[in-house]
Symmetry: C2
Subunit: 388 residues, 2 copies
Amino acid sequence: MNKLIFPIILLCIGCAENHKKSVAEEFQPFHPIKEVVLDSLNHPWSIAFISNNEALVSEKDGNLLSVNLSTKEKRTVKGFPSDLTDSIRAIHFGDNSGIFEVLVDPNFKKNKWVYISYAAKKDFGTTTKVVRAQLNNDSLINHETLIEAAPYTREYYHYGGGMTFGADDKLYVTIGERLFWERDEPPLPIAQDVTDKRGKIYRINPDGSIPDDNPDLGPNAIPGIYAMGIRAAQGITVQPDTNTIWFSEHGTIQGDEINILHPGANYGWPNVTSGKLRSSDYTPPKLEGVDFTPPVWFWQHTVAPTGLTFYTGTEFPQWKNNLIVPGLSRGSLWRFQIDNETIKSAEELFLDDRVRIRKARQSPDGKLYILTDEDNGKIIEIKKQYKL
Amino acid sequence: MNKLIFPIILLCIGCAENHKKSVAEEFQPFHPIKEVVLDSLNHPWSIAFISNNEALVSEKDGNLLSVNLSTKEKRTVKGFPSDLTDSIRAIHFGDNSGIFEVLVDPNFKKNKWVYISYAAKKDFGTTTKVVRAQLNNDSLINHETLIEAAPYTREYYHYGGGMTFGADDKLYVTIGERLFWERDEPPLPIAQDVTDKRGKIYRINPDGSIPDDNPDLGPNAIPGIYAMGIRAAQGITVQPDTNTIWFSEHGTIQGDEINILHPGANYGWPNVTSGKLRSSDYTPPKLEGVDFTPPVWFWQHTVAPTGLTFYTGTEFPQWKNNLIVPGLSRGSLWRFQIDNETIKSAEELFLDDRVRIRKARQSPDGKLYILTDEDNGKIIEIKKQYKL
């Protein structure tokens, strides 16, 4: 009889031990820490995962790269559109131009489509452009232009260029209003004018055609406009479970915001803002009968929030479905706990270790990465260190 | 044989289940929620626990109370010093006077000493006063004055009045500098003058005598001064493990701070501040050879941080040894993760449920309470709700 009882007891102890590991370690209090996975990137703006370790990385002031986070291999993708602006940063300090978002098609494995937003040049001006092309052995082929946010102007600011696929497989794109000073606004401000392509958020089909169920913004509206009143939104992402789309907006002075995207909504720029206008001599025109949608969050100091993402990985179960928002200004990283569309708490991380961050992204296997906006730009994985 | 094996298996399953409960529930992700434990308090300022449920509560605009959080019983403690200012709030809006901190002696069970700070009046002025008395059947007896921060003035602001016992069993007391406008400063600003009692942090023995090992601030310094350059510090508390003392400081405009207390340190008011001075026409005198100690944290917007406390309870193991800081201004509650003297992250809680909070305190059995600064003031326990 002993022979039989003994192994059963052992087996049960083993179960408890396993259980202890899985539950205790999973939820244990921790400090987030940073681990550099890849460096020597020229102001990386975006990362699109093809597998857990393979990805496309856009360098704002460099190239589109094909990288392997495991082998550390980096290869330049050939065939990038030739109308990419030269790196004007050297001549014009504070220039925002370059390569912005890179996305792969939800069905990339089959169709190889890659979506890119960047600052395109023509004559003496630039504008935000969105193209798609198919990736073939590290080369882009079969290019198609999806959005060309003309006019081409000599303002090198606020291109926007944030992109995400919705749960509806539509492509959502932010296009900035491109002005530095509000005093340069036309009588009807750019972002308030549905006949102007700039200062809007678009919703288009992956081939650039316009979905039938887009909001009706009038007969003269630019096709594809989904929302308006945008200044310089760069981050846009989809909330898990609810499929709600959230985006970040750069304000002027203390006007940095997080917004929820609603069809046909007007986010107010430059008529209403959470901050102060840069041009103190500018008064926006009075717009009759216009409803403005307020942000769900705004900071009372400058953050310059950019490529936000919802966290759905397993490394930090305490952060499940939290919104992670990087900031350029002081190099901050924020974590918001959210219940549906209500922000319950806001945590600023890495207060003793700041660095300009352009983007937060998650790999298919749930690892959380941030991209630093530096000459020696880095892809950093957020890991955890258990507290003592 | 079956008869014997069966109960053994059940026993082991039971173990695993128990284990699951203790570990999983303890660390599971949660939303903090509020549960009102006691209400109808007149702007409660402070709570001093005598047991897990019995406590003394000071009402800023009311009385010193003896309360039972379990039976909800409230009794007014008799024998409060008769020089307490009348509630001037009714005549003078924004008046800060009233009853401030209440503490019980570390050895209260034996000696019954209670320590109280409050705004005392004399002639036509008021000042911050610290007294102790013994609690005898809901009455204070054997009063002793420990600090009387004369002069008595007609400025009804910035009394300070924060108190804590250090791990060394000394009493630490914050005394504000009492001015509203910096332009009213004398040539050597009040908080920079060691011969002026105001704008200082004191370290005294519980009987009011001066410890031998206090810092030497010169032959003319007021006895008991431990640190200077203080404007309106109200919160002061001891960090677990390290025994470091942390205190909050009200700034003017964007100058709200958290500081670590060092012997003899000068926190700079009004010569240096994280914010802006209220009197734009005031320039502090140049002080030669004076070192100012910077804050470990400051906000870039107004928070009005007050009665902070370190959390050491068991309800939220994720918050272990975190610093909890309530704010009056917008009604915020902050949680700081701290590694020794480095702030690692800062989280703002209850963003969708703001209320002016004067104090955060923990009961002996580790429950976390906050006191709301309202006409119908409340003692609220922070509990947790597991996330779905």
